[in-house]
Amino acid sequence: MNLPIGLVVAISFAYLALLFGIAWYGDRRARQGRSIISSPWVYALSIAVYCTAWTYFGSVGRASVEGVWFLPIYLGPMLAMILAWVVVRKMIRIAKTYRITSVADFIASRYGKNPVIAGLVTLITVVGIVPYIALQLKAISAGFGLLTGPSDPTLTEASVTWWQDSTLYMALALAGFIILFGTRHLDMTERHEGMVAAIAFESIIKLVAFLAVGLFVTYGMFNGLGDLFGRALNDPAIAQLMRFDHGATPHLYSQWFALILLAMLSVLFLPRQFQVMVVENVDERHLKRAAWVFPLYLFLINLFVLPIAIAGLIHFGPGQANPDLFVLSLPLAEGARWLALFVFIGGLSAATGMVIVESIAVSTMICNDLVMPALLKTRRFRHRRGGDLTRLLKSIRRLAIVGLLLLGYLYFFLAGDAYALVSIGLISFAAVAQFAPAALAGMYWKGATSAGVLTGLAIGFGLWVWTLMLPSIAKSGWIATGFLDHGPFGLALLKPEQFLGLSGLDPLTHSLFWSLAGNLIAFVVVSFYTRPGAREASQALLFVDVFDRSGGSEPVFWQGQARVDDLVKLSERFLGPDAARRLFAEHAADLGASSIAALEADARLVQRVETRLAGAIGSASARVMVASAVDEEPLEIDDVMRILEEASQLRAYSQALEDKSRSLEQATEKLKRANEQLKSLDRLKDDFMSSVTHELRTPLTSIRALTEMMRDDPDMPTEQRQEFLGIMVAESERLSRLVGQVLDLARIEAGHAEWHNSDVDMQAVVTQAVGSISSRFEDKGAVLEVRAGSHFKPIRADADRLIQVLLNLLSNALKVIPANCGRVVVDVVEDDDGVTVEVADNGPGISLEEQAEVFDKFRQVGDRDQHREGTGLGLPISRQIIEHFGGRMWVESEPGHGATFGFYLPRKQKDDSRAETQRLGERQ
């Protein structure tokens, strides 16, 4: 005996209790509105419920027989998440909008809330999923047996009778646990937050446990991967596991393709995947994280599959131990009993996780889509008014859970030994793959009809039973295998595994090919030849265009009369009085109505009640119940079109309104900006006026003071009087110069200046300016040198204005150069695009800070004695002139070494409007 039974049982129950604790906490937090599962990580981990006991034990088993063939089952979901997350997002949006709670409900709702489709999908699911549940029981049972039994690793003790079989009691214990877990709420769209939290936790445990045993085997028992693979390659029987083309399978690629496709579809349509990925999704955006975390999870959990398989084969020798249990038997063989126990808990996580979610999902389907329709058929039930039915619904679900687990046990008891874990799982996968055409086409093709779905499902399911299910039962020895070899009634063409003579494929690929092909062809062909009813057409619109609609403009496909009273009673029966009251209160609040009594039983309210009921009893049953409670008028295709038209008009109105308000907003924004601009221009104008005032008042101050003093003092000496009169004249001149320049600048800035443009020879301009000022340079004993070539190409400009600019630069230079040793050089240089003129002096230079301000209005730099003639407007005006002709003006100076003012005039001017905007930009 490896470990005492009591210990393993106690620890297993303790672990389940821990899970229950997590679930309880998760539910409590959800009720407080502080969800612990609203995280993309939890969401991604909960999707990892995909990895069941099959992954945990079966992958190693399959790898030890068929090498890398365990991989497609995980490549499929990786591809599905990475490539098809857009499809999943649409499924989520649809399920949320219409309160869809299961894959059966999803398909039935799309095809007119058809109860027959819901029932058929549920039936297929149950038949397909029972073996899968059996598989989990088998895994736990086998693991338990190995852990507690004698060191002889046989799978199960075949001798026990059923009431002695611990597996049965384990199944019942699990059922009880799941009932506690999952059926406390009724409305499935009130999500099972606690369950999701527990599942995410289990995903972590199983990954850690598997990695732990992987590391133990690879690095504890062997010297790392190199050692392991090296030994494997020396053994030809093991070495072939690492080749893709090993074994007798001739149709290698078709089988890879089939397995990958199968796994892709099953990760979307297995009831538990639909449950965690779509129904339990808290936030659509979490999907983006899951799209890489889930594939990463799959990658990690598969990392050590091949090493463990090889290690098992090397350690025990081929055929000596059950490879499905290598993860347990390897640590046990090494005496690592606690690690083995931990690995068993990991396996328990994988198995219970699957069983919990699967049975909750499937029990909902059984209740809503098989039992409820049957109950609704009985008149007594349908017409019984009042009475809270929520307890009945819960009881049905609980019974369904117990029933599912017992069925799983039965399958395990009868057929469990015949097949390896992986093969059982693949049978289930092939069953749920039948839902793919109806569900996927339903989201994107409005032409798909319920008749097409029913035909396709029936044919696909029939072929699945014939080509896969029956052979698997026959091979277990429960029915004669004669039809496998010879066909029924000796018709070789109908042989299940060589259907219509197709041979050479393995049974799974063969079955998948025929069932999916038959399903798809029948679905498409029948859809083309049938017309959808009004209800179906309206649902098709709602599904396919789910992203186009939002909020109030959603069309409501219902017409007739209803009474609020009847709707309230109906809701109370299936939702319970509290939830029903909340529902109507919410509706009243949305409409702004004062109370429930003030509500009008219009189409929108009926729709809302029906959607909520769909969350509790499925869309098909909800439809039947609403129809029986209110007075409806049958919906025709024309009505659907009319309602759609109205809704789209409404949408167009609201769209137009939205556009209007947006353009208004934009206009407001523009006005605001213009106002800001005006304000800042106004400030600039104020500053300018203030500066002008200052500049005008300063000379006036001297003139007034001196005049008054001469008036008050008739005896002023003549020399004094002459000096004062001289000052007055100079100040008057300064005043007139200032007024002239202010006006000039204002004209240029306002664009009112007159420009007399002609083809200007820059050399002539320089000569003229120099000629008119040279005498003043001579007076100061300064040198004025001109360096210019000859034959300049003409420039289109106003010659007088250019002379004004040059004179301004020259007189500025004259002011700053020292007396008697002053020197000013004018450089004129031509290139292909234009002319550059520079005026360099040997004055004191301008500091860096002052260089930045030198072109500002009224900003005079340097010694104040030099200001007497200046106005502080010369440079600003010059720059305006140069920029008017598309050029630019600058200053370069190193203090102590003179300054150089320069400008550049392009031969080809930018067009005027651009020059204008440029100038405006600078002024702001």
């Binding site: 000379p699 006036l700 001297s702 007034r704 003071a705 004695d865």
Partner: protein
Amino acid sequence: MKKILIADDEPNIVISLEYLMKREGFEVLIARDGEEALALIEHEAPDLVLLDAMMPKKTGFDVLQAVRQKRSALKIIMLTAKGRDTDMEKGRALGADDYMVKPFSTRELVERVRRLLDQTESPSAS
């Protein structure tokens, strides 16, 4: 003889004010920027300052502030070419005794100078 400091960067205004104040019988000091003004106030202890608001290096407001921080009772008349009310308020707030907008009347300036200087004399006289 009372000492009057004229602080202004406009040479012609300085010339006029110097003549005016000397004619009225005051001793005249001249500063051509804010720093010079502060130095002369420190070392020459004038009785009254005619302080231009807009000067290089340190503005008249800066000078005013520096003087008032030392709690000096020195009489100060601000002169400004900017007729803005805000400037006048700023000058008052900083503690100017009087405030005149250029161009001003010479008679009124003389009158205000005398009034301010009499104020300082009368308490000691009584």
